[in-house]
């Protein structure tokens, strides 16, 4: 489902003496449907960079990033948007939303974007929020004022609202307590069971061992190591 071939990346800082910083070379990665692959490596090794390239958030300098039959490294913006709407989900570490929009609408939005009718989308959002132990009295409020853990759970609910065939999870269990961590792990297992291809970054070793089928150490993709 996800196929990364010979991807490289460098950052050029035009305003800081045009410094060129190569950050990744010859990255290769395959994820089949129903499989979960963990990206591991020290902080700064390029886990999030690779994940962001797969999402189309960072431009790959060379190589191919195939999600289904779309090459993210070459695709037009509207093809990537289409892909993100129907195929590729992303749970980032931070929640970024329009201020003053209710939590329920934030979670339902990915469903509305795919043409699900309002009632069905809200019903699904309510189920997710209830499973993730967000108290019902908060649903009508904007998540911008929530605690860190609550925001992360809202973000997870939003990321899992639509059944994406491919998902990217950036530390989904980072600031959660044991009970909520269990809920999230079960959601990941359920997503795998329905056939989603998942790439995850987990600093939580036990969580990683439990849901991931293999580990890819991105340190192997740093340009120095490759050279």
């Amino acid at each position: 489902m996800i196929n990364v071939e010979n991807v490289s990346k460098s950052f050029t800082l035009h305003n800081q003496g045009a410094a060129v910083i190569p950050v990744m070379a010859e990255a290769n990665l395959q994820v089949a449907a129903g499989e979960c692959v963990a990206l591991v490596g020290a902080s700064g090794a390029g886990k999030s960079t690779l994940m962001r390239m797969i999402y189309g958030n960072y431009l790959a300098a060379s190589g191919r990033i195939m999600i289904g039959d779309v090459d993210v490294a070459q695709a037009e913006p509207r093809e990537i948007l289409q892909l993100r709407r129907h195929v590729l989900g992303y749970v980032s570490q931070f929640l970024r939303v329009v201020p003053r929009v209710s939590t329920l609408d934030v979670v339902a939005e990915p469903l509305l974007a795919t043409g699900t009718d309002r009632d069905a989308a809200h019903a699904r959002a309510k189920t997710l929020l209830a499973n993730l132990n967000i108290p019902e009295r908060l649903w009508a409020l904007s998540p911008t004022t929530f605690s860190g853990g609550e925001q992360q759970r809202v973000n997870i609910a939003r990321g899992f609202a639509y059944d994406y065939p491919a998902m990217l999870l950036d530390e989904p269990t980072a600031s959660l307590d044991a009970a909520n961590r269990e809920v999230v792990l079960q959601m990941i297992e359920a997503a795998k069971a329905r056939g989603a291809a998942i790439i995850g970054i987990f600093h939580d070793d036990a969580a990683r061992a439990r849901v991931c089928d293999k580990e890819i150490d991105v340190t192997g993709f740093t340009p120095q190591a490759a050279a």
């Binding site: 950052f11 050029t12 800082l13 035009h14 305003n15 962001r52 189309g56 958030n57 960072y58 431009l59 913006p77 509207r78 990537i80 948007l81 970024r96 329009v98 201020p99 003053r100 929009v101 509305l112 974007a113």
Partner: protein
Amino acid sequence: MTPLLQVTDIAKFYGHRIGCKDVSFDLYPGEVMGIVGESGSGKSTLLNCLAGHLTPDQGQVNFDTRTDGLRDTVTMSEPERRMLSRTDWAFVHQHARDGLRMNVSAGGNVGERLMAVGARHYGDIRDSATDWLGRVEISADRVDDRPTAFSGGMQQRLQIARNLVTGPRLVFMDEPTGGLDVSVQARLLDLLRGLVREMNLSAIIVTHDLAVVRLLADRLMVMKDGHVVETGLTDQVLDDPQHGYTQLLVSSVLQV
């Protein structure tokens, strides 16, 4: 799929000075494109060329008309262009008073657009005006008040209602949230996002506020000195800018 708007090689000069030059892009139905750049970068000039307010010196602006498919709006006759701007296009000005008739009631402002496309039944016009005022969160009892009695945020929402009542397919917006305080701005952004999704609108939004484009636009075009220096997916351009100017622009935003 046919693009809704196909822009080829647009240029506009003010004497020797470049307004904008070598601008080409395609906009598809349902897509929202942001144009950012500092003051004087040519973004408003470009928007006005696209919307038919200025005649470009060079290039084509092809619009997918309902009856005849792609037509160049630059060479189209004035009445045809006017008709398009009443039916298929909408233009939201930065200052609501440029887009509203200040001495006509709120309901009249919305109804006028309908009458311009042939609506004549007073009851129907008033009903759809009231309906639209509701959708932009202006209460029905203000329908007979003039915009002069409205706050800035209300005027802006009224302008949006006036523009969208005829069900346009393409909306041009020039700094739609400029000059509004941040709480009003947030509400307006949410409103615009909902309308874009529900009506499958395409929109071109000119702004210098990067936070606004991140939330509203799918795609981004960065302009400097009349030229397009970078284009791409909004979050990609903002998070991984390639051009020196874009990097400067993104790194210059004050963090709250």
